[in-house]
């Protein structure tokens, strides 16, 4: 078991070595991208679960009572808490404050999605850069040894192919996750907006 783990690590280091210099920014990019993706997944999951019903939200606001974080942690309870914290007491002004709160929460839904998209889109480009570098290495080898020495050319060619492969392997799940997160954000935004209108009518 541990032996296998070490073999895998060794092969990974070999893989990185044969991929050349582009592998390191690619790995860093992948790390940041997945960090943001997982954070967003956890965040949205929390906003989905343990949500308030619209009646409970209105009850909290009318009683001016902060929601209990053990019971409620969804997007609507965040909206209620934000509103209670910043409300003025004047119903006309409170409507504007409620609108602003809804807008603020909805804007925060999109927080890192654009970054994730940009990272996922730039991963294959970085793989392409690695390909170009690998081909340049190959041509340098050809310039020295001629086309006869296939073994020497193999280094550059494998660099070219491995970076492309890695770039695509980073980009494909990244792109998928971006789409998935955008759909979730859209749903959450709709839900908050609906509750916002409901509360506005009751104020």
């Amino acid at each position: 078991m541990i032996q296998d783990l070490f073999t895998a690590l060794y092969r990974m280091s070999q893989y990185f070595e044969s991929g050349g210099i582009v592998m390191f920014p690619l790995a860093a990019l992948s790390l940041v991208m997945w960090l943001l993706i997982i954070d967003r997944v956890l965040h949205f999951r929390r906003l989905y679960r343990k949500n308030m019903s619209s009646k409970a939200a209105w009850a909290h606001i009318s009683e001016n009572r902060m929601p209990d974080p053990a019971h409620y942690q969804g997007a609507i309870s965040v909206l209620v808490a934000e509103f209670i914290r910043s409300r003025s007491g004047d119903p006309v002004l409170d409507r504007f404050i409620l609108d602003e709160t809804v807008l603020k929460i909805n804007r925060s839904m999109d927080d890192h999605l654009a970054t994730i998209g940009a990272l996922a889109a730039s991963a294959p480009l970085m793989g392409l850069l690695g390909t170009v570098i690998g081909m340049i290495v190959t041509f340098d080898v050809i310039a020295v040894f001629g086309t006869g020495n296939a073994r020497a050319m193999a280094g550059g060619i494998s660099e070219a192919l491995i970076t492309t492969q890695t770039g695509l392997l980073v980009a494909i799940p990244g792109m998928y996750m971006k789409g998935f997160l955008e759909r979730r954000a859209q749903k959450l935004k709709q839900r908050t907006a609906v509750i916002g209108y409901y509360l506005r009518r009751h104020l």
């Binding site: 990974m12 893989y15 790390l31 997945w34 392997l169």
Partner: protein, 235 residues
């Protein structure tokens, strides 16, 4: 909600959860990346090495087994009989082995072996000495029976006869000759020619000057009968 520590208890809880989520995301992202990059090299895995080894081995076997061309049961029996007869003699085993190897193809040559013949070639050691026939199967092998095809050391093309050149005659000569154990050409015979009597002289002259690497059967140098067709074409 974000940034500095909020005053309200609800927001404090939210803030703590946010921080926990980030820590968890960092750990999960690191683990996921490690897994992806560790598994990718296994995508390139290829291990059909053992298979190819087996294939190569069997291929060699097939080639080596082909040597006796059409083993007729009759000559084998005869060989047995002969061996039984000579059990008392006990010849040198090494020489006998070589002689057997050479002798084996002779049995397959179309040659009427009469079992009732008086003991002609008694010993297996010296089969080629006892039969002085020109194309006797004892000492002569055709080019196809050799370990490898005959290779010419020097093969000068024949000169185009002046007479034929003047008259624009083209043609061909089919010639048979014997390459002896030293690689020299002997016994040149013209088998067929077209047209008659134009090219045979020059062919005889040039073919007898050719030199070959002596042909071998099972590593032993032998005389070889070879045939070739020489074409005379004007350009």
């Amino acid at each position: 909600m974000r940034g500095k520590e909020p005053e309200n208890s609800y927001f404090r809880v939210l803030f703590r959860r946010r921080r926990g989520a980030w820590a968890m995301a960092a750990a999960a992202a690191a683990a996921l990346n490690l897994a992806i990059f560790a598994l990718v090299p296994y995508l390139l895995e290829a291990d059909p090495e053992i298979k190819t080894y087996k294939k190569i081995a069997s291929g060699i076997n097939v080639i080596r087994m082909q040597e006796p061309e059409d083993p007729e049961p009759e000559p084998k029996e005869e060989e047995k009989e002969k061996e039984e007869e000579k059990e008392e003699e006990k010849p040198d085993p090494k020489k006998e082995a070589v002689a057997k190897k050479i002798a084996r193809p002779e049995m397959t040559v179309p040659f009427d072996i009469n079992p009732r013949l008086p003991a002609g070639p008694d010993s297996l050691e010296l089969p080629e000495m006892t039969t002085p026939q020109a194309y006797s199967p004892k000492d002569m092998f055709s080019a196809g029976e050799l370990d490898r095809p005959l290779t010419a050391v020097s093969r000068i093309p024949p000169t185009y006869p002046m007479r034929a050149k003047r008259r624009d005659i083209e043609g061909w000569v089919k010639v048979r000759f014997v390459v002896d154990k030293q690689g020299r050409v002997r016994e040149v015979t013209i088998l067929e020619q077209e047209p008659d009597g134009v090219f045979d002289k020059t062919v005889r002259n040039c073919v007898s000057r050719w030199r070959f690497k002596p042909g071998t059967v099972a590593g032993v140098k032998v005389k070889t009968v070879a045939e070739t067709t020489i074409r005379f074409e004007l350009d």
